[in-house]
């Protein structure tokens, strides 16, 4: 597909696979091998289960605050399936499914949400930046990576995610503009999950779509059914092709929904109705993808049951490992402040060590 031909102001959403699992746009259906399709499905399932379990653990007081991905898995695995190995993933904070697809082990993601920085020490060859909490700021990192990639003569793109709320931030504006001016290979994906904590999309912007924000940067923008992993794949693939061809960044708005709370500290019943949630549950990306795979005869109930059981055991085991993982030591919290510790920090650490020894800590 040619992204330039898409008018974000026309109010049309790109969809290939509908909520019933039917192909609605045959000509755009990507020709993915079953390995890729299954990896997409299994990653969505793993994310869903990991998410559900983490919420349980959190309610039991065993897990700390985290940001559930439930409902947005399709908006994340579609793009990552379109990415090449050398491409970078620059996440915000709700991208568990994307990160898993890119190859980050669940254990690390759990460790991070469990409150240990070591969870962010990803295998560097995976090219995934740590979770980014300050809204919008990750776009500028992606713009920098994309600039570097082009300067270095590489064909690696930077894929970055942001929320609907994040599009209001000044950093969103500066990052997209920076990437556009230099035709840097960046793909920015807005996961418009309709809310920023309690604030509805309508209070975030008066624009009809968030995709149309692309117009201000002179780049293509496209609104996609974000719960359709195939459409997300196709749109991202087209954007990546553009990026690699030196044509610059693309803005993709994925229309999706956060089925869970904002974080475990949030009570979504305060600001949205049960009907609304139900309506979106019917559009669940996993349900429709499962139907699609079944129709394609590469998946079935038995396999699903088996995978589900297996994954639940796996997640449980991982969480146990995480619970037993040693907490950060004094060295760990001090020694990454600078590449080589300063004299002052060494002194502060030594003093603290001494206090611990006097008190019998550590």
């Amino acid at each position: 597909m040619k992204l330039e031909n898409y008018d974000p102001l026309a109010g049309k959403q790109l969809q290939i696979l509908d909520a019933e699992g039917k192909i609605t746009n045959k000509s755009l259906e990507p020709d993915l091998d079953s390995e890729t399709l299954l990896r997409m499905y299994k990653t969505m399932m793993l994310a869903r289960i990991a998410d559900t379990k983490a919420l349980q653990y959190q309610r039991q007081g065993r897990m700390l605050t985290f940001a559930p991905v439930k409902g947005q898995e399709g908006a994340q695995v579609g793009p990552m399936a379109a990415a090449q190995e050398g491409d970078w993933l620059v996440p915000a904070f709700r991208e568990m499914a994307a990160m898993l697809y890119k190859g980050i082990p669940l254990k690390q993601l759990y460790l991070y949400w469990y409150g240990n920085e070591i969870g962010s020490q990803f295998d560097k060859s995976l090219r995934v930046l740590p979770v980014n909490v300050p809204i919008g700021s990750q776009i500028n990192h992606a713009a920098g990576i994309a600039y570097a990639s082009k300067l270095q003569g590489k064909r690696d793109a930077a894929i970055t995610f942001i929320g609907d709320g994040g599009t209001s931030h000044g950093e969103f504006h500066e990052g997209l503009n920076f990437a556009a001016v230099y035709d840097s290979p960046m793909v920015a994906i807005i996961q418009n999950n309709q809310y920023a904590i309690s604030t509805p999309r309508s209070l975030q912007s008066k624009a009809g779509t968030l995709a149309q924000k692309a117009v201000g940067y002179g780049i293509p923008g496209i609104q996609v059914d974000g719960n359709d992993p195939l459409a997300m794949y196709v749109a991202t693939k087209a954007a990546l092709d553009r990026a690699r061809a030196g044509e610059g960044p693309t803005l993709i708005e994925a229309m999706t929904y956060r089925l869970g709370p904002h974080t475990t500290s949030d009570d979504p019943t305060l600001y949205r109705s049960e009907e609304e949630v139900k309506a979106w549950q019917a559009k669940d990306p996993i349900l429709r993808f499962r139907k699609y795979l079944s129709n394609k005869k590469i998946w079935n109930k038995d396999k699903d049951k088996e995978f589900d059981d297996e994954t639940k055991r796996y997640v449980k085991d991982i969480f146990k490992e995480v619970e037993n993982y040693p907490h950060p030591t004094l060295d760990e919290v001090y020694d990454y402040t600078y590449a080589v510790p300063t004299r002052e920090l060494k002194r502060q650490k030594a003093a603290q060590q001494q206090r611990y020894e006097e008190e019998g800590d550590q």
Binding site: T65, P134, Q204
Partner: protein, 326 residues
């Protein structure tokens, strides 16, 4: 009188001041309909309408910058930053406009703004949710910076800040939002900005602190109650302007000085206090002034956070060391 948590005291005060003065407006990310992620502004939109109490886009520069404009147009804005760690994108507006517009316009546009934000650690939070950034405000001429430690003070100081014509950063120690209740008057009262409070009278060592840490200091002092020395505990309440007089008077009496804060050490408030003590009470000092602070590292995620936290036993031991130094 009524039993209130610190959080309730703030909520009550906002409502009370809004009732009294229709120029007061309250807004921020999720501050309207939901009443804020901590529910500090709960109920306000219902009572005062979505014009005076509203949700904003995620845009801290707009939140602070619009307040500068609203103040110029005659309102008294009380915007909220969701966590102090997210004030940075709005810091340009804070430091170059809110703090300076009165000076720049030679008095034409005072900035009666109260920028509220929860701050501080110890709540097992995500990155950027545990910062103590008071230095970044107290260093800027033109700002006032308030950090209450009790529901009583929270109410009186907030009322003053809202009524004050200068821009105030109002930092809320979220660790003690709901930690305890205090019997406080239901009616309005004010506590002057820039006045410290002596929480314990003593004569052998002066300990200065503020915010959530105040309570750890008091616990530490309680632990020391059987010692042969007595501790004077000062709650700054306003970290800019600093009530130097109260501190100096105390140090002149005790000759010993300890400052406790959860912000990092280098260029934390402690450094300024020690310098003022040097400047005004140097020859009264009988022991070297001492800082008890977090180390100069980023606040760790929860599993490592204790390495960053100043704890009661450390405070007690250090106070004792200074008090008994010969």
């Amino acid at each position: 009188m009524a039993e209130k948590t610190l959080l309730q005291a703030i909520n009550d005060t906002l409502a009370q001041q809004m009732r009294k003065d229709e120029r007061v407006v309250v807004y921020g990310e999720d501050a309207g309909y939901e009443g804020g992620v901590f529910r500090v502004t709960a109920g306000l939109q219902k009572e005062f309408g979505a014009g005076r109490v509203f949700d904003t886009p995620i845009a801290e520069a707009a939140i602070v910058g619009s307040a500068v404009g609203m103040a110029a147009a005659g309102l008294r804005p009380v915007p909220e930053i969701q966590f102090s760690g997210f004030m940075f994108p709005g810091y340009n507006q804070v430091a170059v406009h809110m703090a300076r517009m009165h000076n720049r316009s030679r008095g034409n546009y005072p900035q009666p703004i109260v920028l509220r934000m929860p701050y501080g650690g110890g709540v097992k939070a995500l990155e950027h949710h545990s910062e103590s950034l008071e230095t970044l405000f107290a260093h800027i001429p033109g700002l006032k910076v308030v950090i209450p430690s009790t529901p009583y003070d929270a109410k009186g100081l907030l009322a003053s800040a809202i009524q004050d014509d200068d821009p105030t950063i109002y930092m809320e120690p979220k660790r003690i939002y709901r930690a305890f209740k205090q019997d406080i008057p239901e009616e309005e009262y004010t506590i002057p900005l820039g006045k410290a409070k002596i929480r314990r009278k003593g004569k052998d060592v002066t300990v200065v602190s503020y915010g959530a840490m105040m309570h750890d200091v008091l616990k530490a002092v309680d632990e020391l109650k059987d010692e042969h020395f007595s501790v004077e505990v000062i709650d700054l309440r306003t970290v800019s302007p600093i009530d130097t007089e109260t501190v100096i008077e105390s140090v002149k009496k005790t000759g010993r000085f300890v400052v406790v804060h959860e912000a990092v050490k280098t260029l934390g408030l402690g450094s300024e206090l020690i310098s003022r003590v040097n400047e005004e009470a140097f020859f009264h000092l009988e022991a070297q002034p001492t800082r008890i602070t977090a180390p100069d590292i980023t606040v760790p995620l929860p599993r490592g956070e204790r390495h960053h936290t100043v704890d009661v036993s450390r405070i007690a031991r250090e106070i004792k060391r200074v008090a008994t130094f010969e």
